[in-house]
């Protein structure tokens, strides 16, 4: 059994009708727990007429009100430091973590008990095991180990699996590359951006990663792990397979992972979560193959019950049969496609950072880039891509080709591509922020700025 390709063979290959029965059972239990232990949830559920007994099918899930980050944050402000979401006394907790704070807002604060922390590792175990990581592996974490939960759970998952874990906190990129090689790491965990950064550093050091020991990269923290051009570039530069995962601090861990057969998407961990996809404008469910917003209900961390949480992540759900790995869990084709609020309207055209990245990563000469939006002449929206190219690149031909591809992908929208000198653009270890919106007006028609 230990040679199983699945971490939990029963649940990962369970027929859909049984899986749904399992989810319904867990949903009732979680609603009961939240009602009993969290007055804030109890009040909302009571107002909606939801009790465990009234949940007769998974369709009844939709009777539960949505939970939003704004509500969670407001609770933290009213009742610091943790707000009104805790279901257990804070003194039972063994871990304190926060969101990454990349949006510039106050981070969400979360607590976990021993059992929750085991869950957090458990969810990552599905992902690591499912991508072929085994006890014999040596796993390097290019991660700073701060309060951001990030790869913490992944670290503990690898200990649980029995791997040799190399914690790469408080190190320069050069030191990290050196340690990966010195210790013969077979697996590297990082954000997609940082995987490229390490590859860049290796080239500077004169090191050939392709002939090195690394066989697998486990990526997380950014949608880029499922952008085909970015993923292909990472795999080429490392000579290793790259597997995407995605998680969130609100859940403490990942809720999806790419299986070793690389089916072009990430399996949803459906024995621990119910993932709905809704139209962000109408809140109505969308079908397989349609893009919408992820709404998650978690059966994992009991310390903070999460019921129908609006994630703002854009996804496209496809049936389990899309993958031939034998799992019965549905997938998100292309992983996380972006954020509901990522989309920018530039002179009437929708611009998605993910689409721009997909084009820029087709050029291995691109060392770093940034999408810059600004207001020209006090009224007109403009968009340009600032790019750092490696030495020897034919700058003029390349930027012209890039601009044409970008325009073709955006209904002819003019997007200037401008080269900048080396090391001008910021580098990222965690979530990359490559879109800078300096517009003083949005939409070019006098639409007032509503967000930073």
């Amino acid at each position: 059994m230990t040679d199983s390709p699945y971490w939990n063979p029963r649940h990962e290959t369970m027929p859909r009708d049984r899986l749904e029965a399992l989810q319904l059972r867990k949903l009732r239990s979680r609603v009961g727990w939240a009602t009993q232990r969290v007055p804030w949830h109890a009040e909302r559920l009571r107002a909606a007429g939801v009790t465990p007994d009234t949940l007769r099918s998974l369709d009844d899930l939709r009777r539960i009100p949505f939970m939003t980050r704004d509500e969670w944050m407001a609770g933290q402000d009213e009742n610091p430091p943790f707000g009104h979401v805790l279901a257990a006394p804070a003194d039972v907790a063994i871990r304190y973590h926060t969101t990454s704070g990349t949006t510039g807002r106050t981070p969400l604060r979360v607590l976990d008990s021993m059992k929750d922390w085991e869950f957090i590792a458990e969810a990552w175990c599905y992902g690591f095991w499912g991508f072929g990581v085994r006890p014999r592996d040596i796993v390097f974490f290019a991660f700073s180990y701060g309060t951001f939960v990030g790869f913490w759970g992944a670290h503990y998952a690898c200990e649980k699996i029995g791997c040799l874990v190399l914690p790469g906190g408080n190190m320069t990129t050069e030191q990290r590359v050196a340690m990966i090689l010195d210790m013969g790491a077979t697996v590297v965990c990082s954000t997609p951006t940082y995987a490229l950064r390490m590859a860049q550093e290796a080239r500077t050091m004169g090191v050939d990663l392709v002939s090195g020991p690394v066989k697998r990269l486990i990526l997380s923290g950014e949608p880029a792990g499922s952008i085909p051009a970015t993923k292909a570039l990472i795999e080429r530069q490392w000579g290793a397979k790259a597997g995407d995962t995605a998680g969130m601090t609100e859940l403490g861990t990942i809720m999806m992972f790419e299986s070793e057969n690389q089916p072009g998407g990430t399996h949803i961990i459906e024995d621990h979560y119910i993932e709905e996809v809704v139209d962000p404008a109408t809140d109505q469910p969308v079908g397989y193959g349609e893009m919408g917003e992820r709404v998650v209900t978690s059966f994992g961390r009991g310390f903070i019950p999460v019921l129908r949480y609006r994630t703002r992540d854009l996804v496209v759900k496809v049936p389990a049969s899309t993958s031939d790995c034998g799992r019965t869990w549905d997938l998100y084709e292309g992983g996380i496609r972006g954020r509901v609020d990522d989309m920018k309207l530039v002179r009437g055209t929708n611009v998605y950072p993910r689409a721009i990245e997909g084009i820029m990563r087709e050029y291995p000469e691109v060392e770093e880039f940034q999408v810059h939006l600004y207001t020209a002449e006090g009224i007109r929206d403009e968009i340009e891509v600032l790019v750092e190219l490696s030495d020897g690149a034919d700058v003029e031909a390349m930027t012209r080709a890039m601009a044409k591809k970008l325009a073709d992908a955006h209904e002819g929208l003019r997007i200037d591509v401008r080269t900048v000198t080396h090391q001008t653009l910021p580098r990222f270890e965690l979530k990359a922020k490559r879109l800078v919106d300096d517009r003083t007006l949005i939409g070019g028609q006098g639409e007032k700025r509503t967000q930073a």
Binding site: R10, W33, A88, V92, S113, M114, K115, E122, F303
Partner: protein
Amino acid sequence: MTRTNAFGDELTGPQEQLAAAYDLLERVLRDHSDELAPFEQRNALKALAALWHVMDGLDLDPAQVYDLGA
């Protein structure tokens, strides 16, 4: 009599033994926590927290254990 899970599936012998180990740990911690030395209590809690996920994965629907400290 063979133990069954929430689906009515029978557990295998080794699975049943793991479930019994969880039950035993849970009972000791519930009934005798105060009598245990720190090393006994905290290591037992850690084991309980890990085995909780075996119970969950086997669909034995373990109750929450925050009141025990896990």
